[in-house]
Each structure stands twice: as structure tokens, then as C-alpha cells.
């Protein structure tokens, strides 16, 4: 297998260009690529579109901020696609003030959209959201007399994800609930950068235990700050 370049956090963040769409793995900060997020915060690349499950934590009272919320705070995003922003008051504030466009998507639909983007599907039919605002402007298709929403795939220019372990070829293994959207996003972006806690030799990961095949990963970054 081919060895994947291990690059610096700054180099990784620098590959995200102004105006691009960016997928960021993680669920409430768990499994969030914090090292790359921190480097991107330093660079401050703007006008990005963020695709992520949730916008982590930003408590305007206590000042607590985690994960991707650091990037929302400095307004790197013109648009945010997420399923949940309930723990990030700043995202809600930007949304209600009209400063940032926020599209709320049911979590299962978002996961499936990312998967569909990676898997070459033109879309899928889900019962989720029928009869709600989520259905607005979407095609409804009846299958066996039951209504489904036609949801379209999501892809991105870049995905930054976080894994527990990689081998040098880029095979990834996730740990616990830090898996979440990470393996899905690895399939759906033109450029995939994986932040990992540990890099082992090729052959050290059992081929039955690989969560993300190496071919999806372009670059590896060694995690420097598990907490952010």
C-alpha cells in the first residue's frame, strides 16, 4: 500500500481554501479534529460552508467553547449545515441575527446524505421530515402508498476528521462514540485529512477491524491537542 504524507496541522489547515465547503467530524466535540481546527482558527480562512452534525458547545454565559465552535466564534462560515445547534448559543445568535445562514437537517438524514455523497447515489427516500418544515421545497414520492422525502447527497471540498489510530497507509480505526460522522465524511470529500492520535506501521491493524479504508485518506495529521 501507499504511504500517506503526515503533514503539520498548519499545512493541513492551509489546504482549506476560502469559499470551500468543509465537513468536520465529531458529535458534541467528541471525535472532533481539534488540532486541525485550532490551526484553521490561526489562519482564519473565511467564507467557508460548514457541514457538521452539531456546532459543539458555546455557552455565552460561562464562555465555554469546544471543537468547531471556535471557528464559528470568529465567523469563518457563511453557511452552516447541521442537525443540532442547541449547545451553541453563538450559532443560534448568528442564525437569529441573520449573520450566518444555518440549515437544520435531521441527524439521520444528514448522515445518510453524506453517505450518499460518498457512495455515488443520486439521493434517497426517507420518511423523516414528512409533514414538517423539513419537507418544504422537497419532492415527495409515494412508495407502497407511504410518503417519503427525496433527499439529495452531500459532498464537500475538504473533510477534516478525527480517528484514534491510523496505519501509515491511512487505514483508520475510531474509538467509542468518537466514530460518529467521521467515517462517513471520509468518503464524501475531494480532500480528506485525518487527525489521529496514533500512527502505526502498515500491517499492524487487523484488516477486519479497519473502519475507514486507506484509499479515502489523503493526509494524516498527528493530534496535538485532544481537548480544545
Amino acid at each position: 500500500m501507499i504511504v500517506k504524507p503526515i503533514i503539520s496541522p498548519k499545512d493541513a489547515a492551509g489546504r482549506i481554501k476560502e469559499g470551500e465547503s468543509l465537513m468536520v467530524g465529531g458529535f458534541m466535540g467528541c471525535g472532533s479534529p481539534n488540532t486541525i481546527i485550532f490551526a484553521l482558527k490561526e489562519i482564519g480562512t473565511k467564507n467557508l460552508t460548514l457541514i457538521t452534525n452539531d456546532t459543539a458547545i458555546h455557552d455565552l454565559n460561562t464562555g465555554t467553547i469546544t471543537g468547531v465552535a471556535h471557528l464559528i466564534q470568529i465567523k469563518l462560515f457563511k453557511k452552516i449545515i447541521a442537525s443540532h445547534i442547541g449547545s451553541n448559543q453563538e450559532t443560534q445568535r448568528q442564525m437569529l441575527a441573520g449573520e450566518t445562514e444555518v440549515e437544520l437537517v435531521p441527524q439521520g438524514t444528514l448522515a445518510e446524505q453524506v453517505r450518499a455523497g460518498g457512495a455515488g447515489l443520486g439521493g434517497f427516500l426517507t420518511p423523516t421530515g414528512v409533514g414538517t418544515e423539513v419537507a418544504n421545497g422537497k419532492q415527495i414520492i409515494l412508495v407502497a402508498h407511504r410518503p417519503f422525502l427525496l433527499e439529495l447527497p452531500l459532498k464537500a471540498d475538504v473533510a477534516i476528521i478525527k480517528a484514534k489510530k491510523a496505519d501509515k497507509a491511512g487505514n483508520l480505526v475510531f474509538n467509542g462514540t468518537a466514530r460518529n460522522f467521521n467515517p462517513l465524511m471520509a468518503t464524501a470529500a475531494a480532500l480528506v485529512i485525518a487527525e489521529v492520535e496514533e500512527i502505526v506501521e502498515i500491517g499492524e491493524i487487523d484488516p477486519n477491524d479497519v473502519h475507514t479504508p486507506s484509499i479515502f485518506v489523503d493526509y494524516l495529521v498527528k493530534a496535538e491537542q485532544p481537548e480544545l
Binding site: F27, M28, G29, C30, G31, N53, D54, I57, A82, S83, H84, I85, G86, S87, Q92, M95, L96, V102, L104, P106, Q107, G108, T109, L110, A111, E112, V114, R115, T126, P127, T128, G129, V130, G131, T132, E133, V134, K164, F174, N175, G176, T177, A178, R179, N180, F181, N182, P183, L184, H211, P226, E227
Partner: protein, 229 residues
């Protein structure tokens, strides 16, 4: 009769619904209280939409694993025999009908089985997270809510006024006044928690409530602070 809000009653009553082997997803907030009332001899499997089957109890302070959280972001643990999976698999499990019960908090729930819990336009926009998929895909949807808002208005409605989380998916509503089944566009009172009476509940709820013939008067033995009497 004076109303004293009591989340613990709701949690305890819901905890009595499940049978060993059933797969249950508990939403953020009130529903998480349910865990502490699950009888010791009932062995349910907690699914959490962030990618875990067999969610265990919250870890002791200092022994948290930052790679294991529950869907609310709180530190979690996994039971022996549990497993982890990605979000697409997790919602395949949920949407595919492999979860028996979901328990969700609500802002409003109505007699047609509609539920609103993800936003108050212009004010609060937490987002739906997994709630839309959970209400749509799960076999039995239980709305868990204090019967009244702080203003004294019932959360049980003829028709929800807030944006819906799901259309006609709620099967059961458990409040601190009783257990309601949703059937034929009406709430059917199946259990009335003493000291409240069916008549009192009907009088204080702006929705059609049919008292079932076999409606039972039930005493649930918890204080608002979670202590048993």
C-alpha cells in the same frame, strides 16, 4: 387542587413500561431521568444515536473516557456486550424500526399525535438533532413532559402551534398527571396519577381527553426532588 410539577413521577412511570430485551432510546433532558427508575430485574438495551448500543451508567467523576459520551454530550459508558457504530448505521437502526421505544421531551404534543420540540421561531433554535428520525422510525414513541408550562398552560394541545418534529407519530404521552394514549385524534387517559382526577385533568387541559373505561387511579411514589416517600 394544587399542581406541583414532578418530573420524577414521569420518569418512574415510563421506566415501568419496558421489558427485558427491549431497545430504548432516551432523549436529552427529562427522558434521561428514566434510567434511574428501571427495575433491577429488567434488562433493557439503551441505544444512543451518537453511535452506541448498550449505553451504561454515567461514569464516576475522574473515570470518564472522552471518547464515550451520550447523545446529550455527557460522559457515558458502555455495557458489557454493547458496541459502537457510525451515525449512518445508528440511524439505520433507528429509521429501520429496530428501536422499540423512544422517549422524548416536548414543547407541545397534540391529540393527533403531532409533536413539536425543536424550535420556537425567532427565539430558540436548538435544531432537531435525531428527534425527527427517532419519532418517525421507532416502534413506540413516548412523549415525556410536565403537564403544564411554567405559565400554567398545558403542553398537551388540540393542535401544535410550533413547527412540528413529526406528524402523527406519538403513541403515548406520560405527564406528571397521567398516562395518555393517542388514538383516533384524541388523547385517551389510561392512568390518572393521584391526587389528580380525570375530571380535573380534563378541566385543565385544552384538548379532547377521553377517559378510558378501564382508566386506573395510580399512586406513584416519588417526590419532585427524586426521593421516594
Amino acid at each position: 387542587m394544587e399542581y406541583i410539577a414532578n418530573k420524577e413521577i414521569i420518569a418512574k412511570r415510563i421506566a415501568g413500561i419496558f421489558k427485558t430485551g427491549e431497545v430504548v432510546n432516551l432523549g436529552i433532558g427529562l427522558p434521561t431521568l428514566v434510567v434511574k427508575y428501571i427495575p433491577r430485574d429488567v434488562n433493557i438495551v439503551l441505544q444512543s444515536e451518537n453511535g452506541i448500543m448498550g449505553l451504561g451508567p454515567a461514569p464516576a467523576k475522574g473515570s470518564e473516557d472522552r471518547d464515550i459520551i451520550d447523545a446529550g454530550g455527557a460522559p457515558g459508558s458502555i455495557k458489557n456486550g454493547g458496541c459502537f457504530f457510525d451515525s449512518a448505521v445508528s440511524f439505520g437502526i433507528i429509521r429501520g424500526g429496530h428501536v422499540d421505544y423512544t422517549v422524548l421531551g416536548v414543547l407541545e404534543v397534540d391529540q393527533e399525535g403531532n409533536l413539536a420540540n425543536f424550535m420556537v421561531p425567532g427565539k430558540m433554535v436548538p435544531g432537531m438533532g435525531g428527534a425527527m428520525d427517532l419519532t418517525t422510525g421507532t416502534r413506540v414513541v413516548i412523549a415525556a413532559t410536565l403537564h403544564f408550562q411554567k405559565s400554567g398552560v398545558s403542553r398537551m394541545k388540540r393542535r401544535c402551534t410550533l413547527p412540528l418534529t413529526a406528524l402523527r407519530e406519538v403513541n403515548k404521552v406520560v405527564t406528571d398527571l397521567g398516562v395518555f394514549e393517542v388514538l383516533g385524534d384524541r388523547f385517551h387517559l389510561a392512568e390518572c396519577f393521584s391526587p389528580y382526577t380525570p375530571a380535573w385533568i380534563q378541566a385543565h387541559t385544552d384538548a379532547d381527553i377521553i377517559v378510558k373505561n378501564d382508566c386506573r387511579m395510580v399512586t406513584i411514589d416519588v417526590q419532585p426532588n427524586g426521593k421516594t416517600q
